[in-house]
Symmetry: C2
Subunit: 410 residues, 2 copies
């Protein structure tokens, strides 16, 4: 690290993490902070207060996304640092919120150290990234970027039957549509996030230079057998859909393991009918989620799935594509800034693709965007044991700070 | 068939099947007739009326089991033909009820044809064989034979919270404990039942000569992995409990297939956690039910299960025995009568073991017992497509009739 390089303040970083972990504290190390819930509104109020104290102007758009704006010295498009404050049920204190807290720390450093900047520097909070109470995930970035229909989103219902639209109205954060993130007033969006995987930790890297979000396909594989009594049907007459599903699952693992070693694929969900210990299953349905940055590898995955044998263990096998997502490549210049700044601080780093979805992937369709990853202890995310040491958070904030200043100079 | 052999009446047999299929008619070919429900009480009333018309005396015991007694010419222990009138939800018109209807037809033939008999001939209805509303199955035979505690059974609750005891009180069929089936007043119990499997049909046999009920073991097999994000966890770091469960299931099938070809085993139930398509499963639990008449084969099954590798695909594997049942052998003399009578009528027949449980297996612990199986179309049971052609029902009744007369001569 060059001696003259600016850094954020590690104590302040820690204070932010500790403070925000109280909003929605579930009592055993994690939080439940659904978007626009009381806990989320507490976190938003704390965010707005702190940003106002720094001299930021607060705006919100029609999806309750918050923009805390530190004015620049010139009338130029702004640099946005954005993430989300909401969590999954019994989530941790890092997924999402760390992107907001590091952005706040970057802003506080700029203000405290009186760093001059030409462009507005914006700390932004996306509403309902997790979609835990009101699906889908990445709801407001999807609306702002034109992926989702706003009316349909307002009608999205919680399991208790409350709509997102009602929660939005009640929140006090509903603002004007003209305030939405847009490519005219903003030049770049940066999002810091925990990796949510074990790679950085295993490879002993402090910073993940995120090149993009991997493409994915999601299939259902189904096997059709014959339901009969467990005690009275000789083996030779059986068509056991669960045995066939196990065969199909093993077959797919075997074939997919032959493809690129960076491919990740998951058979995470299984449904068995009738699922009674005394009855031979007649129907099994399992999911297959496969992700890779190279569309050619995804094509190979599709080929494996679509060439699966039509029958296993005398049971018919079918597949159905549920959805697919193309690889999203982040802005090369911004990715280059992240890499340069991590190197300049002397932080071990590596290029990485995001396997999970983030608001940044939608934002990338509108304006130059990239992400910074920091390590996740044991790769945990979406659970209470989620953890990133404060020093890693601080290092991430430092890289974010320098990148904001790089963009400011553009 | 010898020219002078008595037979039951096929038209009367059909009338009985058609009549009883109305009680609890579910509207699409089958019935829902939970024990002591209104539909079951209608069937009981029809049974009692018809038996009274034949001159039978009706008694009930404290579990509402019904005994319709045709007096014999001597004061000797009686011959019981018994089965049940209750069904599972959306069950068929044969499982259970056919045993009662063939017994009624045998009684009607004896009365109509004025066949003299020394012993009382009893048509008996067991209460709550299915245990569909008030578990467990084979409830009252279990109580009468001392397997189940009556107090606990009276407290058994339906999903709506009504107890079996209340239903019993309300039914009007609660009788005296001294009327229970017992080895002093009764010399044999015979139960005709559909096979509930495809063997007789496939082997083109009219009659299954049931030698006993197979022994069984029931295990749970569990795999323990690590839950992580589907998109962010490289394959080499994964511990996928569902992949491990598929491996364990395939391994067990492969090893158990090496044992006796009459062994039946079923992996019918599977539970996966968290069962989300974007999360690697950390826990899977599946059932293994294995049945065979030879305790040695069951011992081999136990050996296979208990020697399962402790790990598949980096996941820990555990097993747990849930319950076991020893093989029940039916009375050899009675089994011999069934065989002899089927042969005498010229009905193709084969010896067979029951894979399912029946009231007869509990009765067998008190007095000489056996069963007659008739074919199940496509092996179906516990479902609406359950079907046995009336000619097969009638043939079964004929064998039952001759066997009652054999026992009468003892």
């Amino acid at each position: 690290m060059k001696n003259d390089m600016l850094t954020c303040n590690m104590d302040r970083m820690e204070d932010k993490i500790v403070t925000f972990s109280k909003f929605g504290d579930a009592g055993h190390g994690g939080i439940t902070r659904f978007s626009l819930s009381e806990a989320a509104l507490q976190a938003r109020a704390e965010f707005c207060n702190r940003m106002k104290t720094m001299g930021a102007e607060i705006k919100t758009d029609d999806m309750a996304n918050i923009y805390a704006i530190l004015k620049g010295s010139e009338d130029l498009p702004g640099v946005v640092m954005a993430s989300h404050l909401d969590s999954v049920r019994n989530g941790g204190n890092y997924d999402g919120v760390l992107g907001v807290l590091t952005a706040m720390e970057v802003a506080e450093t700029i203000v405290t150290e009186k760093i001059s900047h030409r462009r507005p520097v914006i700390v932004m909070v996306w509403t309902n990234e997790e979609g835990s109470l009101y699906p889908p995930a990445m709801m407001s970035s999807g609306v702002v970027c034109g992926k989702f229909d706003k009316k349909a989103m307002l009608a999205s219902k919680s399991p208790e039957g409350k709509t997102f639209g009602e929660a939005l109205k009640k929140s006090g954060y509903e603002g004007d549509i003209s305030n939405r993130l847009n490519p005219k007033e903003y030049i770049a969006m940066l999002e810091l996030h925990i990796e949510q995987g074990p790679v950085l930790e295993a490879e002993k890297k402090d910073i993940g230079v995120v090149e993009g979000v991997v493409g994915m396909v999601n299939y259902r594989i189904r096997t059709y057998g014959q339901s009969d009594h467990a005690g009275t049907t000789p083996m030779k007459y059986r068509k056991d859909a669960l045995l066939a599903a196990a065969s199909a699952l093993k077959y797919l693992h075997q074939e997919l393991d032959k493809l690129d070693s960076n491919l990740v694929y998951t058979t995470g969900e299984i449904v068995c009918h009738p699922c009674v210990h005394t009855v031979i299953p007649d129907f099994v349905d399992f999911s297959l989620d496969a992700r890779h940055q190279d569309p050619e590898v995804i094509r190979q995955v599709v080929k494996v799935i679509e060439n699966i044998p039509k029958e296993f263990d005398k049971c018919r096998v079918e597949y159905e594509l549920q959805w697919a997502r193309n690889t999203v490549a982040y802005n090369k210049e911004l990715v280059g800034f992240i890499k340069k700044n991590a190197d300049a601080y002397g932080y071990p780093n590596m290029n990485i693709y995001s396997g999970a979805g983030h608001d940044a992937q939608y934002a990338a369709e509108m304006l130059p965007t990239t992400m910074i990853f920091v390590p996740s202890k044991d790769g945990h995310s979406h659970c209470e044991p989620e953890f990133t040491p404060v020093e890693n958070c601080w290092k991430g904030a430092n890289v974010l700070l320098q990148t904001v200043l790089d963009v400011d100079r553009k």
